[in-house]
């Protein structure tokens, strides 16, 4: 048996397997596709990289793109840790945006700006949580598969948004016109400030870009969710249910409640993605009738980023930035050398497939590791845990 520190080092290396293999495989497939399309592979990747990080503005746009993806990914970490497959990020994000913009418009100018922003964020979280909670409730108490219900609820959410934007939420100055339906613009004082970073000699980075404080909010949320998942009883119960729901039930955990809670938290994070997108970037809600017109597929990309980050909120941060860069860079690739951005959609799919396939190897290894660590019952943090893990091994 290898010495402990060698083991730990080896384990850490093994954790890097899914991102590295999936990225390598995706790059290989993308290169083949580019060659088949008679595109210069090197040129294409250069355009991709330059579009993502080539200029100050490109880097800022990458981060801007990463913000909603990160919010969703953090929520996905909670849901997937409870073994709840939440595909409803799109709908929950829309629900959050609708609630947030409603509060911002209703109370803007009547209450102190900071209070309105906080209320708006809370409303977004609550709306997303309720919307996610519906799917959680249906799964826990009616045995409705959450993958299916969340997919359906995505469609319902977008039509609900279309209806509200055409009616009650329509910008009053737009009534009777035939413009794309949109809400009124939120007051300037309610906008999340642009994020500039002071550097030495008074140089400011990201000064003339769209980067906003949503990034800080998302990172704070990652910290909160990390603490919640790994350092509170709530998080422990959620993970126990995900690890083995039968064992958790024997251990006295209310499995149904954890499932609903996990979906509420995941939905709440997605709801925040929506409201931050409004307060920080678009300053209003508008629709072209399709869900992606507003969400930019963040609900799906968030899943990819969460997996890529090893279902850990901190891992989700670089993963979201990476995918933000991929998406922004893909647009540049299209502009510069005419490679359709759909190539990146396909490559993203390949990354997901490889990431989730190689994840299995890591999990199996982790499970073995955990068994070794937890086997003596005295090291378990609570009797519940010991019971749960004993049952899990049975």
């Amino acid at each position: 048996m290898p010495r402990p520190h060698v083991r730990a080092w080896f384990d850490r290396l093994f954790d890097l397997l899914p991102p590295v293999t999936s990225l390598g495989a995706a790059l290989a497939v993308a290169s083949i596709l580019l060659i088949v399309m008679n595109a210069n592979v090197g040129e294409a990747y250069l355009a991709l990289a330059a579009g993502a990080f080539g200029t100050e503005n490109a880097t800022a746009e990458t981060l801007v793109k990463a913000i909603p993806v990160l919010f969703i990914a953090i929520g996905i970490c909670v849901a997937f840790r409870a073994s709840v497959i939440n595909i409803g990020g799109e709908g929950q994000m829309i629900a959050g945006a609708v609630a947030g913009v409603t509060i911002a418009i209703a109370f803007g100018g009547r209450l102190p700006p900071l209070l309105v922003i906080v209320l708006s964020l809370l409303a977004g979280f609550a709306a997303g949580a309720v919307y996610g909670g519906i799917a959680g409730f249906l799964k826990a108490y009616f045995n409705v598969n959450e993958i299916l219900s969340t997919i359906m609820l995505n469609q319902v959410a977008v039509q609900m948004m279309n209806f509200l934007l055409n009616g009650p939420l329509l910008d009053p100055t737009e009534v009777g016109t035939n413009h794309i339906p949109k809400t009124a613009r939120i007051l300037n004082e309610l906008q999340l400030p642009r994020l500039t970073i002071g550097w030495f000699d008074g140089v400011e980075v990201f000064a003339r870009t769209r980067l906003h404080y949503g990034l800080i909010l998302a990172i704070l949320l990652a910290v909160v969710v990390y603490v919640l998942l790994w350092h509170t009883p709530i998080g422990y119960r959620i993970r126990a249910v995900g690890f083995n729901d039968r064992a958790s039930r024997y251990a006295g955990i209310n499995v149904r409640r954890q499932v609903v809670l996990a979906m509420c938290l995941a939905g709440g994070c997605a709801g925040l993605a929506g409201v931050v997108q409004v307060l920080g970037l678009q300053y209003r809600l508008q629709t072209d009738g399709s869900p992606a017109g507003f969400t930019a597929n963040a609900g799906f990309n968030g899943i990819v980023a969460a997996l890529f980050g090893g279902l850990n909120p901190f891992g989700a941060i670089p993963a979201s930035i990476f995918f933000g860069g991929l998406l922004v860079g893909a647009q540049n690739m299209q502009r510069d050398i005419g490679v359709p951005a759909s190539l990146i959609t396909a490559v993203n799919g390949i990354i997901v497939i490889f990431a989730v396939s190689s994840q299995v190897f890591v999990q199996r290894r982790r499970q073995r590791r955990r068994n070794i660590e937890i086997n003596p019952p005295t090291t378990a943090s609570s009797p519940e845990a010991a019971a749960a893990t004993r049952k899990a091994q049975a």
Binding site: L33, S149, V156, S342, L343, A346, V352, V356
Partner: protein, 308 residues
């Protein structure tokens, strides 16, 4: 008023609309009965739709197009099975990966190989002699004036029910889906059965795409399916993993869709957002009722580990 809404043509439209769902859902059912959830149906449909359309465009033969769709479905099914069965990846997520791959790839191929939307000859409606002339209750119009793939889709219901319930292969599928350990002990090759069902299901998903691009719509465009494949997966649950149940679900969903178009066409004043929303809401409600007494395969989404 009522007779204006519930016309024979609405029922006929429901049958037509149900066709792609039925191919995809029945295919999905085979995989799920053996314990594999394939969530990538929509992506496979898109690839099937593209290749069917492209081959039909190049050769002028819709039959060859269908063959291409079946072939590409089989290949993607092989990949899905490899990921789900051999590598034992989380099925819900790898399916999203397959969906994104199909979505991006079909668009890329379309842009490069075809470019602008073009229509194909495709399959036209076949009027079944005598039967299509029945005026009584509009039976002729509802049932007997469809293209060949509509008939095939409905013929698939008894055929697949027979395969699942009455053949040794069906017995193996059910055994593997209910209790893979026991099946393994009985000498059934679990992995092989699952490979076969997933490949068969994906071929039917490819066929569902072909039904859109060479029979119902006769054109191809980016994201042609608009998420139809996800509904197809939901219908499997709705239909409680039985072909007849799936048919009923597909017909109900399609009927609500046809109805909302009819209501809009004759100018009844319902906000169109709610009309578009209706099929999804009804599916959720139906899922609630369908899931109470579940007949879900016990091993669904669970990879098989020998000797646990």
């Amino acid at each position: 008023m009522i007779e204006q809404v519930f016309t024979a043509s609405v029922f006929a439209a429901a049958l037509r609309l149900a066709t792609p769902y039925m191919f995809a859902s029945i295919g999905e059912m085979f995989g799920q009965r053996s314990g594999v959830l394939n969530l990538g149906v929509d992506g496979i449909m898109l690839m099937g739709a593209f290749f069917a359309h492209y081959v039909a465009l190049m050769t002028g033969s819709a039959v060859l197009g269908v063959g291409a769709a079946l072939l590409v479905g089989a290949l993607l099914g092989l990949a899905t099975a490899f990921v789900s069965v051999t590598l034992k990846a989380e099925q819900g997520i790898s399916g999203i990966g397959m969906y994104l791959f199909g979505l991006g790839m079909s668009e890329l191929l379309f842009q490069r190989l075809v470019g602008t939307p073009r229509s194909v000859e495709g399959f036209s409606a076949i009027y079944i002699p005598l039967l299509s002339d029945i005026q009584f209750l509009g039976i002729g119009e509802i049932f007997f004036r469809h293209n060949i793939l509509v008939y095939v889709a409905f013929a698939l219901v008894p055929i697949s029910a027979y395969i699942i319930n009455r053949t040794p292969f069906g017995l193996m599928i059910r055994a593997v889906g209910q209790n893979p350990q026991a099946a393994d002990a009985m000498g059934i090759n679990v992995a092989r059965v699952r490979y076969m069902t997933v490949i068969l299901g994906s071929m039917l998903a490819g066929l569902a795409g072909a039904a859109l691009s060479v029979a119902l719509l006769k054109v191809f465009q980016q994201n042609l399916t608009s998420g139809l494949g996800f509904i197809a997966v939901a219908l499997v649950y709705f239909g409680r993993w039985r072909p007849v149940g799936i048919m009923i679900g597909a017909l109900l969903f399609s009927f609500v869709n046809a109805l909302q178009l009819q209501i809009s066409a004759i100018g009844l004043n319902i906000p169109s957002e709610f009309a578009v929303m209706a099929p999804y809401v009804i599916t959720i409600i139906a899922l609630v009722f369908a899931s109470r007494q579940t007949e879900k395969p016990d091993a669904l989404t669970k990879p098989f580990e020998r000797g646990e």
